[in-house]
């Protein structure tokens, strides 16, 4: 028997679930959905947190279940897993654009982030796109944001932290 739901279909449903802290960014674009599996009537989803202590994880998990149920999935399961740990390069190009429109600098991309936190010192200002900026604090109002200051715009801004 063919599976009643296709993987693509499920991903398009999941587009509806947004990061509660950044309502323009879907969980799919955030990169926290790491696996979708359909076996007969049953849908199994693996998610991974951006930060281990992310307080919104339970809420996001519930919203994923709700969306599946609303689309007629009777047997759905969501598992939190660290098999494919999240890092900021998992944010899609569409997600990066959404962050910028929201006024948050997207995380700098690159493979050397773990060893080179100097990138924090010159984050790109989401207003003027300039790099004439300085780090104010690696800790912001939520776990995934740092605080910066643009010396040209003379205004503070936040960046989605590279991880």
């Amino acid at each position: 028997m063919a599976n009643p739901y296709s993987i693509d279909q499920i991903y398009s449903w999941l587009e509806e679930v947004k990061d509660p802290e950044i309502p323009v960014l879907s969980l799919v674009d955030l990169g926290v959905i790491t696996r979708v599996e359909v076996t007969g009537e049953e849908v199994k989803i693996e998610m991974t947190p951006t930060f281990v202590g992310c307080p919104a994880m339970d809420l996001m998990k519930q919203e994923v279940l709700d969306v599946l149920n609303n689309n007629g999935v009777k047997k759905a399961e969501v598992i939190i897993s660290f098999k494919e740990p999240w890092n900021s390069d998992k944010i899609s190009e569409k997600g990066r654009q959404a962050l910028k429109q929201f006024g948050l600098a997207p995380p700098p991309s690159g493979k050397n982030l773990f060893t080179d936190l100097d990138v924090l010192e010159h984050a790109q200002c989401p207003r003027c796109n300039g790099n004439h900026t300085e780090l104010r604090s690696p800790f912001g109002p939520t776990l995934c944001r740092s605080i910066h200051y643009c010396l040209d715009c003379r205004e503070a801004f936040e960046q989605f932290k590279p991880l």
Partner: protein, 251 residues
């Protein structure tokens, strides 16, 4: 693999994170600067979240659920190092403790990314990345205040001298040390201590602070075996009071 050895390792790592996380959270609304207030609150949230992820692994090994583990044990059942339970005191002590402790933890999690126990190795990749921000924060302030005014240097030096014997208690060996190393779960406290020493020296050398002769220091031990200072039980009582009032309270 000896499961008790693995559990003992997981408990001590998670308990360190939980207890220091709660101490950090006591800075909320009390920090010397708003930015520092936010920094210690964020690190608290990270550490408590990380402890829960490790308690979740313990739960999968047959231990109780994370909330029960975190809030219903007595002091003598906790495996955290005594350093983490000491009261916050002044900001300079909290900063020194943060520096000494997080320098050790980031090396510990780096080592654990190679663990033969896969769930721990996977989680360690994640936690190591998050701790980069904690050590970045600690190193920045130690370098800055450790070279600033006579007063700031003197205060930090006093806290450093006071905290160091407790910091050495982080590396108190487990009764299962040999098995843990042999099974490839963790390369052991001695290896961790050697790297830690070098990293501490590398930062302190960039300041006007100085380190006492390592060989003359007497470690304060006991925490790993459940022998704690008088400061732990009141902290646990306070934590579990919040839990008893509202068991579903989010941390």
């Amino acid at each position: 693999m000896n499961e008790n050895a693995l559990k003992e390792l997981l408990y001590k790592i998670a308990d360190d994170q939980l207890i220091l996380g709660h101490r950090n959270s006591e800075w909320t609304g009390m920090g010397p600067l708003l930015e520092e207030d936010i920094a210690f609150s964020s690190m608290a949230q990270d550490k408590i979240g990380q402890s829960y992820a490790i308690y979740t692994i313990l739960h999968s090994l047959g231990e109780q659920d994370p909330d029960t583990i975190a809030f219903t044990r007595n002091a003598n059942q906790f495996h955290n190092s005594i350093l983490t339970e000491l009261p916050n005191g002044e900001y300079d002590f909290s900063l020194i403790r943060h520096f000494l402790y997080d320098t050790a933890e980031i090396i510990r999690f780096e080592m654990l990314t190679h663990s033969s126990y896969t769930p721990l190795a996977e989680l360690a990749i994640k936690i190591r990345a998050e701790l980069k921000y904690h050590t970045l924060h600690a190193n920045t302030w130690i370098k800055q205040l450790g070279s600033a005014t006579e007063e700031s240097i003197e205060r930090l030096q006093k806290s450093l001298d006071y905290a160091m014997p407790y910091a050495l208690g982080i590396f108190e060996e487990s009764p299962y040390e040999a098995e843990i190393i042999k099974s490839g779960i963790f390369a052991g406290e001695k290896a961790l201590y050697e790297t830690w020493k070098q990293n501490i020296e590398a930062v302190i050398d960039q300041t006007r602070l100085h380190l006492a002769d390592w060989s003359l220091l007497k470690p304060v031990l006991g925490g790993r075996l459940g022998n704690h200072s008088d400061h732990l039980q009141p902290l646990l009582d306070e934590m579990s009071e919040v839990f008893r009032i509202d068991p579903s309270a989010e941390w």
